[in-house]
């Protein structure tokens, strides 16, 4: 009890800290101006973070489009169709990849991916597309690893029951195994989503960080996290508060996403 509460106290402390530093600023310049203005020129006293909100959403959406289908398919395939001995080498490899620093992924993005995009698709190369692909690859191991664990945790009797009723292996998977493992899979996706929206250094390296509303996936964007990390080193006074306020917005977006995901789990659970 005491341990649980001390952990929670730590978590609450950091949330309060961010809100305390950022919220007064939002009220001072007005919520709509802060959220909906597209001008971010701290030197001129213009603090609009709409381009960064759009940037974060685009990049995260892209990462999910790349990472979740691949990760899920991989998890299902590896846990249902691969013999145990092969799994013993593949799972550690995946966990190894989860441990590779994001900066390494980012650097590969800069050296390999961005030049390819610049050459074959146009634009500056450092773009939404590059960031989405790199982030998608980055969250793959997380999504896969946790999904595999929860698919493996589904009792074998469930599968045997389905087979006994004459279901094919695939029917068993998508009608019995995946629904049973859903809570774990969603936890994996949320962790992956969190990593994607919260990733900073890799995104700074590959997204180009231009402050503008993107017109295409080939445009350069700046995410909320990049905005904080890029300018915090130099920011003072109002500018610094504005960056903490950016942190508050980020926090709220993450809370909303989690809330949506959690209600989705609960509602489906009720329907059954």
């Amino acid at each position: 009890m005491a341990i649980a509460l001390s952990a929670i106290t730590m978590l609450v402390l950091i949330v309060l800290f961010i809100i305390k530093e950022g919220l007064p600023f939002i009220f001072k310049i007005g919520i709509t101006d802060f959220l909906l203005s597209t001008d971010w020129e701290p030197a001129a006293g213009k603090y609009g973070i709409f381009p960064m909100i759009a940037g974060s959403l685009w990049v995260t959406l892209g990462a999910i489009l790349v990472g979740v289908p691949l990760g899920l398919a991989g998890a299902v395939f590896l846990s249902e169709f691969i013999p145990q001995w092969a799994m013993k080498t593949i799972k550690p490899t995946i966990e190894l990849l989860a441990g590779i620093p994001s900066v390494v992924y980012g650097f590969i993005g800069v050296m390999v991916l961005a030049p390819l995009i610049r050459e074959y698709l146009g634009g500056p190369g450092l773009s939404i597309m590059a960031a989405s692909i790199i982030l998608g690859i980055m969250i793959l191991p997380t999504v896969m690893s946790i999904s595999i664990d929860s698919i493996k945790a589904v009792p074998n009797s469930y599968r045997e029951g389905a087979f006994a009723l004459g279901a094919t292996h695939w029917q068993t998977i998508h009608m019995v195994v995946i629904p049973a493992a859903r809570s774990g899979i969603i936890a994996g996706i949320i962790l992956g989503l969190g990593r994607a929206i919260g990733e900073t250094m890799a995104v700074i390296m590959v997204a180009g960080n231009a402050v503008k509303l993107p017109n295409s996936p080939l445009d350069s964007v700046r995410t909320l996290t990049a905005n904080i990390a890029l300018e915090m080193g130099y920011a003072t006074g109002m500018h610094r508060q504005a960056l903490f306020a950016t942190g508050v917005v980020l926090l709220i977006i993450i809370m909303l996403l989690n809330y949506i995901a959690m209600t989705a789990i609960r509602d489906r659970g009720k329907k059954k």
């Binding site: 020129e41 701290p42 960080n209 890029l230 130099y234």
Partner: protein, 265 residues
């Protein structure tokens, strides 16, 4: 099993704490701030420590604002800042100019443009000039590379060039090194960085016909120049003064000059 491991680990932790209390005989000076000056500071610190074995010098980056804040809060003994004008909150700090630094305008090696006027630079960074053709280059759109808002290099650059309202298309990079890497990789890019960090993988363009070279900066003909300040709480004293004096000595200034920065005087 776990129950047994945890106390063991705490013992190791305790050992480290104990080790720390008896291992700390050396006096350590911490300097933090400007990423542009950081490489040079590391070099100077190494030399200083060879001469003064009893003193350790730790150099941290973070940016000019971190330099100012950590000097104010006491997190660092010396704050390093590279702004043309120091912000008002740095007013209570004692500032010593230890070097000057040229800001070089750089383009990709494949770019044939060799000179830009201040007006052209202002046009490019404001998004008015969008194609290299306009300034005598090939028919390609310009990829503008700039630094993050608040960067010492950027605010100095904008203060000297004047009237820049940065184009929204600009790619933003967070250090001199990354600006350089971006320009190396993109044939149509233009960027600016600390003169000391120009290498042979990029091409430097002259500004108003004057190349960014140490001699031209000393003569005052090259105009994109900013000072580098070391900030201390109150006038520097003791070991800190000793270090700053070393940097200002002819030996320290020689190191600064040979590394590509401009001596203070």
């Amino acid at each position: 099993m776990k129950i047994k491991i945890i106390p063991l680990l705490f013992i190791i932790l305790g050992f480290f704490t104990a080790y720390s209390s008896c291992g700390k005989e050396k006096y350590t000076i911490t300097a933090a701030g400007s990423t542009a000056f950081q490489p040079f500071a590391e070099k100077l610190a190494d030399q200083y420590m060879q001469l003064n074995q009893d003193t350790g010098v730790t150099i941290q980056g973070g940016g000019s604002a971190v330099g100012i804040q950590s000097a104010l809060s006491g997190a660092a003994d010396i704050g390093m800042a590279d702004l043309v004008t120091l912000p008002p909150e740095a007013g209570s700090l004692s500032a010593t100019v230890v070097a000057r630094d040229g800001i070089a305008i750089i383009v990709n090696l494949k770019n044939k443009v060799g000179n830009l006027t201040l007006e052209q630079i202002q046009g490019i960074y404001s998004g008015v000039i969008k194609n290299w053709k306009t300034v005598g280059g090939n028919d390609h759109s310009i990829t503008v590379v700039s630094r993050e808002a608040g960067s010492g290099t950027r605010s100095s650059f904008e203060a000297i060039v004047k009237n820049i309202s940065l184009t929204k298309e600009a790619i933003i990079q967070d250090s001199n090194g990354t600006v350089r890497e971006t320009v190396i990789n993109d044939a149509n890019a233009v960027g600016y960085l600390s003169h000391g960090l120009v290498n042979d993988k990029i091409k430097q363009v002259s500004v108003n016909g004057v190349p960014c070279m140490t001699d031209e900066i000393i003569k005052g003909r090259y105009i994109l120049v900013r000072p580098i300040f070391l900030l201390t709480k109150g006038a520097p004293k003791g070991k800190v003064k000793n270090l700053i004096d070393y940097i200002l000595s002819s030996q320290g200034q020689e190191t600064i000059k040979s590394s590509g920065l401009i001596p203070a005087k």
